[in-house]
Amino acid sequence: MFEPYRYARPRDPREAAALLASEPGAKALAGGTDLLVEMRARNLRPSLVVDLKGIAGLRGISRAGGRVRIGALTTVSDVLSSPRLAGGLAALRDAAAVFGCHEIRNRATVGGNLANASPGAEFSVPLMAFDAEVVVQGSEGPARSLPLGSFLLGPGRTALGPGELVTAVEIPGVDQDLRSAYRRRARTRGMDLASVSLAVVARRAGDPARRQVALSMGAVAGVPPRPAAAEAELSGATLTRERVARAGELLVAGLAPRATSLRATPGYKLAVLPVLLERILCDLGLVEEDGS
């Protein structure tokens, strides 16, 4: 049972932002797969639900030069089936494939997933590794863009001010030489949240001397981190098994996942992340085989 709410379906982002700013109990509704769960639990009792789905232009994936733009209302099903996300952006398709379930994917949006700011959010993790930027719109003034790492502030917290909404997320530097993958562990093979996850993004992938490897992990910290030491170990060098193993150790050094998770113990996460790293790097064809 929901507490009473008013419902609005604005036509443009500024109108939506103005509605969101108009009262403290105003909440944005995109796919509803997070909001309605909170409303049913009576944790959230919005006085005004602002349905963003009436706003044109917020859904869709476009590409201009080396930049890919994903509208905030792009659904997870859209991501899964988009030809524009094939190839180097495979990590996003990997994330979409394990996100929730089919019906949830038909409704949940990329913008909503980021704005919910869960430490294990399926899209936050690969987008962090992609150095993605979040485009935010208020009721007045121009849109502003900020790195995802600055947008996500902690579990359930973002840099969105009152009356602001996410309109898009953009990925820079998308070219032929980009490779990526996202893998996770979960408790079942069906619908589940991630127990722990890892995204790997390799730019200039085919050229070991100039290759840049970016990593991010889910369900290990309040915000998906960028493990700089592990990234440095894997960048600008031929990847042997020994180097990959060292990177695995660096990957988890300093991680302190909370002991209270219902999904996996800290020990499990720390043990399995290096395994996932090695497997992803092999799957992406980045590890030099020495005849073994």
Partner: protein
């Protein structure tokens, strides 16, 4: 929002109070009197509440009633035409894919939605489409057989009965 939610359900026009706070699931069950769509969890975790909105399978417990203003909704009650079972329903009956029956409408609507977009899904695509649907009775094997049977029959029917409206495709 203006005074009424105008929505098509199973091809018929309905009008509902726009101001009451409830999900699409509650709207269907309590106000449209269509109790075939079930509540198993209320949180989108089980699939028993699955309906089609504008042809897409969604969890009706996670949709506010106001969101379907102007939409076309299909529920389990709309599948059998004039009392004749839809091939998906017939397949579920024949393969013993129905035990307690509580998950069946959700599964059937999910399959209906899947086949509407992808008439020849692979076994993996079927499982991916149904991976979020819980059944505690059957162990899923009979359900997978039902889907295979339905795909076969609908494929054959399409090939031989062009333009027929019997199957609700």
């Amino acid at each position: 929002m203006r005074g009424a939610i105008q929505v098509q359900i199973n091809g018929r026009a309905y009008s509902f109070d726009a101001n009451r706070p409830r999900s699409l699931l509650a709207l269907l069950r309590d106000e449209a009197g269509l109790t075939g769509t079930k509540e198993g969890c209320g949180n989108g975790e089980c699939g028993a509440c699955t309906v089609l909105v504008d042809g897409l399978a969604v969890r009706s417990c996670l949709v506010l009633a106001q969101e379907v203003d102007g939409c076309a909704v299909e529920t389990i009650e709309g599948l059998a035409a004039g009392g004749q079972l839809h091939p998906i329903q017939q397949a579920f009956v024949e393969t013993a894919a129905v035990q307690c029956g509580y998950c069946a409408p959700g599964f059937i609507m999910a399959v209906h939605g899947l086949l509407g977009c992808n008439p020849r899904p692979s076994a993996d695509e079927v499982r991916q489409a149904l991976g979020g649907h819980l059944c505690r009775c059957t162990g899923y094997e009979a359900i997978e057989r039902a889907v295979r049977l339905a795909v076969e029959r609908l494929g054959a029917a399409k090939a031989t009965v062009l333009g027929s409206t019997d199957h609700g495709l």
